[in-house]
C-alpha cells in the first residue's frame, strides 16, 4: 500500500517536472537554441528571404571568402564595421568602468546625504528606452543644439561641431593639429591596404559622430555600473581600511591596494557585460544615424541588419552573425586572460 503510494507520487512528480519545464524549454529551444545552429547553416547558403529557405542554394564557404579573403566591397564593408565596433568598444568599456568605479568610491561614504536622490538620478538614464534617449540626443547633438550652445557659452572661440554629421576620425583630427594630414603623411600609411582599408583609415579612430554615440552610451550606462560597484564596495570589510590607515597608507594607496583587488570579480563582471553589450550595439545607429555619415557608425550588428533586411542577403547576414559571435567570444576570452594574468602578478 505504502509502496504504491510512493510510486504514484514519484510518477506524479515526474509528470509535474516535465510539464512545468516544457513550455519554457520549448520556447527557448525554438527561438534561441535552434536558431543558433540555423544561423550557421544559413551562412553556407544563398537566400533572399523571400522564397522558402529550403529552396536556397548551397554556396559553401563563399560568404566567408568574400567577407574575409577576396578583395571586394563586402570585405571592405565588414572590416569597416569591425573597425567602427572595435573603436566603439575600446572607447566605451574602459571609460564607463573607470568612471563608474570612481563615482562609486566617491559616493561610498556612510554619512552621505541625499543618497536616494543620487541613486535615482544616476540610475535613471539606464531605465529609459534607447529610442527615447536617441531622439533626445539627436536634438541635443544637432549643429545649433544645446550641447554646442553650452560649449560656446563657456568658450566663445569654439566652432560648432556637427556631432551627428562628421565622418572624420578623431585620431585623424588630432594628428591634423600636429600637421600630420593625408597630404603630409608618408605613403606607406596612406597607401598600404590592409583588408580593404588603408592603414590611415584603420588608424584614424572612431568618427566624431561615433564618438558622440559613445558619449551617449557612457552617459546611459555609467550610473548603473556605479550602483553595481557601490553594492560591492559595501561588502569590503572596513577593518581592512582601518588597518591600512593605521599603517599610514594614503587614500590613493588604499584605493589601489585594497579597493581594486577586492572589487576584481565585480570589475570582471562589469567589463564582461560591457564587452558583450558594446559589440552588439544597434539601437543608437538605427534611431540616430542609420549607420552614417559615410558608414562611420555602421556597427557589425547594424551591418547584419542592413545585409539581411535592406539588401535581402540572408546568407551573407548569417555569415556576419557567425563572425560576430566569434568576435564576442574571443573578446571575452582575451578579457578573462588579462584578468587572470593580473591575478598571478
Amino acid at each position: 500500500m505504502a509502496t504504491t503510494n510512493i510510486a504514484g507520487q514519484r510518477r506524479q512528480e515526474l509528470i509535474a517536472g516535465y510539464s512545468f519545464v516544457a513550455p519554457a524549454l520549448i520556447i527557448l529551444l525554438v527561438f534561441l537554441f535552434i536558431p543558433m545552429f540555423f544561423t550557421l547553416w544559413m551562412s553556407f547558403r544563398d537566400w533572399s528571404g523571400i522564397t522558402p529557405p529550403a529552396e536556397s542554394g548551397a554556396v559553401g564557404l563563399q560568404w566567408y571568402e568574400r567577407l574575409l579573403v577576396l578583395d571586394n566591397v563586402r570585405r571592405t564593408d565588414f572590416f569597416t564595421a569591425f573597425k567602427n565596433t572595435f573603436y566603439y568598444a575600446l572607447g566605451v568599456v574602459p571609460t564607463q568602468t573607470v568612471l563608474a568605479l570612481l563615482l562609486a568610491v566617491i559616493a561610498n561614504q556612510q554619512l552621505l546625504r541625499f543618497k536616494g536622490f543620487f541613486r535615482t538620478t544616476f540610475y535613471f538614464p539606464s531605465i529609459t528606452s534607447s529610442v527615447a534617449i536617441g531622439l533626445i540626443f539627436l536634438w541635443i547633438y544637432q549643429s545649433g543644439g544645446i550641447l554646442n550652445q553650452v560649449i560656446k557659452a563657456v568658450n566663445p572661440a569654439y566652432r560648432n561641431i556637427s556631432w551627428m554629421n562628421d565622418p572624420t576620425g578623431i585620431i585623424h583630427n588630432t594628428l591634423a593639429v600636429f600637421g600630420l594630414t593625408l597630404r603630409t603623411a608618408p605613403a606607406w600609411l596612406t597607401e598600404t591596404n590592409v583588408l580593404g582599408l588603408t592603414l590611415w583609415q584603420w588608424l584614424s579612430g572612431p568618427s566624431v559622430t561615433m564618438t558622440a554615440l559613445m558619449m551617449l552610451v557612457i552617459w546611459t550606462t555609467a550610473g548603473t555600473m556605479m550602483l553595481v560597484f557601490l553594492a560591492a564596495l559595501q561588502d569590503i570589510p572596513r577593518p581592512l581600511y582601518e588597518a591600512a590607515s593605521v599603517d599610514g597608507a594614503t587614500s590613493v594607496q588604499q584605493f589601489f591596494s585594497i579597493t581594486v583587488p577586492m572589487l576584481r570579480p565585480t570589475i570582471f563582471f562589469v567589463v564582461t557585460l560591457g564587452l558583450i553589450g558594446t559589440f552588439q550595439v544597434f539601437d543608437q545607429m538605427f534611431v540616430m544615424t542609420s549607420g552614417g555619415p559615410a558608414g562611420t557608425t555602421t556597427s557589425l550588428a547594424y551591418l547584419i541588419y542592413r545585409a539581411g533586411f535592406n539588401d535581402s542577403q540572408m546568407g551573407l547576414a548569417s555569415a556576419i552573425s557567425v563572425l560576430l559571435f566569434l568576435i564576442i567570444f574571443t573578446a571575452t576570452l582575451i578579457q578573462r586572460r588579462i584578468f587572470s594574468d593580473r591575478a598571478v602578478a
Binding site: F20, P23, L28, S129, A132, L135, F282
Partner: protein
C-alpha cells in the same frame, strides 16, 4: 546593527588617519560637488527635453536653453496623434506586448525555475545546462534565424510573433531557481502529506513566498519589453504599422522627416511620453530596481 557598528568605526578611521578636521570637511565638500555635477549631467537632458517639448518650433530652435516655455503649447503632444504618428495605437501595442510578456514570463519562468529547484526528474541537469547555455548567446546573432523561423511559422507581423520569442528568458528561470532552492522544504512536505498535487504546492505554497524575486522579474520583464526595439523590428517588420509598439513607431519618426527639417518638438514629446510609464514604475519600485541590479552583479 551592522550600520551601528559602521557608524562607530567612522570616527576611529579618521582619528587613526590623523587628517585635520578642516581637510576632512574640504574633502567632503569636494565629494558632494563631484556627485552633484554628475547628477546634473544625468538629469539635464531630461529636464531640457521636458521643457522644450512644451515649446513652439521657433522657440525650440532659437531659445532651447530657456527652461520656461513661452508661449506654453501642447501642440507637440497633439501632433503625436496625427499624421504619420499613431501614438495612441502604438501605446496600446506597447502596453499589450509588455503586459502579456510580463505575465507570461513571470509565470513560465517561475514554473520552470520551481521544477528545476524542487522536483527531481531524470534529465533535470541537462535541462538546466541548456537554459544556462542560452544565456550565453548574444541576441544579435539570432536576428536572421528568428526572422526565418517566424516566417516558417507564418507568425511574421502578428501579435503572437512579437510575443512568443521573448516570452521566456533564461535569466528569469535562473533567478527563480536560485530563489526556490533557498526555501526550506518543510512547508511543501506538509502540503504533500495533505495530498496536494505538485502544481497546488507550487501555486499555493511556494509561489506566495517568492514576492521579492517575482517583483524583480516583473519589473525586468516589463522594462525590457517596453524598451525593446530590435526584436520588434524583425518580428513585425517595416510595414505593419498597426502592430508597432512605441519604440518602433517613434524610431521611424526621423525617417519620416527625410528631406525636410526634423521636427524636434515631436521627437521630444514622443520621448517624454515613452519615458513616463517607466519613470513612474521606477519611482514606486526603486528599491527593487537597485537591489536586483546589484544582486545580479554579485551573482555574476
Amino acid at each position: 546593527m551592522a550600520q551601528q557598528a559602521q557608524a562607530i568605526h567612522v570616527p576611529a578611521t579618521r582619528a587613526a588617519g590623523g587628517a585635520p578636521a578642516w581637510l576632512v570637511s574640504l574633502a567632503t565638500i569636494f565629494r558632494y560637488l563631484i556627485l552633484f555635477a554628475f547628477a546634473l549631467i544625468f538629469l539635464a537632458p531630461f529636464i531640457f527635453a521636458i521643457a522644450n517639448s512644451f515649446k513652439t518650433a521657433p522657440q525650440i530652435a532659437q531659445d532651447a536653453l530657456n527652461l520656461i516655455p513661452n508661449p506654453f503649447t501642447l501642440e507637440n503632444y497633439l501632433k503625436l496623434t496625427r499624421g504619420a504618428a499613431n501614438v495612441p495605437l502604438w501605446t496600446f501595442n506597447s502596453l499589450l506586448f509588455a503586459g502579456v510578456v510580463t505575465v507570461g514570463r513571470v509565470f513560465l519562468c517561475s514554473l520552470a525555475g520551481y521544477a528545476l529547484a524542487r522536483i527531481s526528474f531524470p534529465g533535470r541537469n541537462i535541462v538546466f545546462l541548456a537554459v544556462l547555455a542560452t544565456m550565453m548567446i548574444p541576441g544579435v546573432v539570432l536576428l536572421i534565424p528568428r526572422f526565418i523561423i517566424l516566417k516558417q511559422m507564418n507568425l511574421l507581423a502578428t501579435y503572437p510573433g512579437g510575443i512568443l520569442p521573448i516570452l521566456v528568458d533564461a535569466f528569469g528561470i535562473f533567478l527563480m531557481k536560485q530563489f526556490f532552492e533557498s526555501l526550506p522544504g518543510e512547508v511543501e512536505e506538509a502540503a504533500r502529506i495533505d495530498g496536494a498535487t505538485p502544481f497546488q504546492i507550487f501555486w499555493r505554497v511556494s509561489l506566495p513566498m517568492a514576492t521579492a524575486p517575482l517583483i524583480a522579474l516583473t519589473i525586468f520583464a516589463f522594462q525590457g519589453t517596453w524598451n525593446e526595439l530590435q526584436h520588434f523590428l524583425i518580428a513585425l517588420g517595416p510595414t505593419a504599422r498597426d502592430l508597432w509598439p512605441l519604440t518602433l513607431g517613434l524610431a521611424t519618426l526621423r525617417g519620416a522627416g527625410v528631406g525636410q527639417q526634423l521636427d524636434f518638438g515631436l521627437f521630444l514629446a514622443g520621448s517624454i511620453l515613452m519615458t513616463l510609464p517607466m519613470a513612474l514604475i521606477f519611482i514606486v519600485f526603486q528599491r527593487y530596481f537597485v537591489e536586483s541590479s546589484s544582486h545580479s552583479a554579485v551573482k555574476g
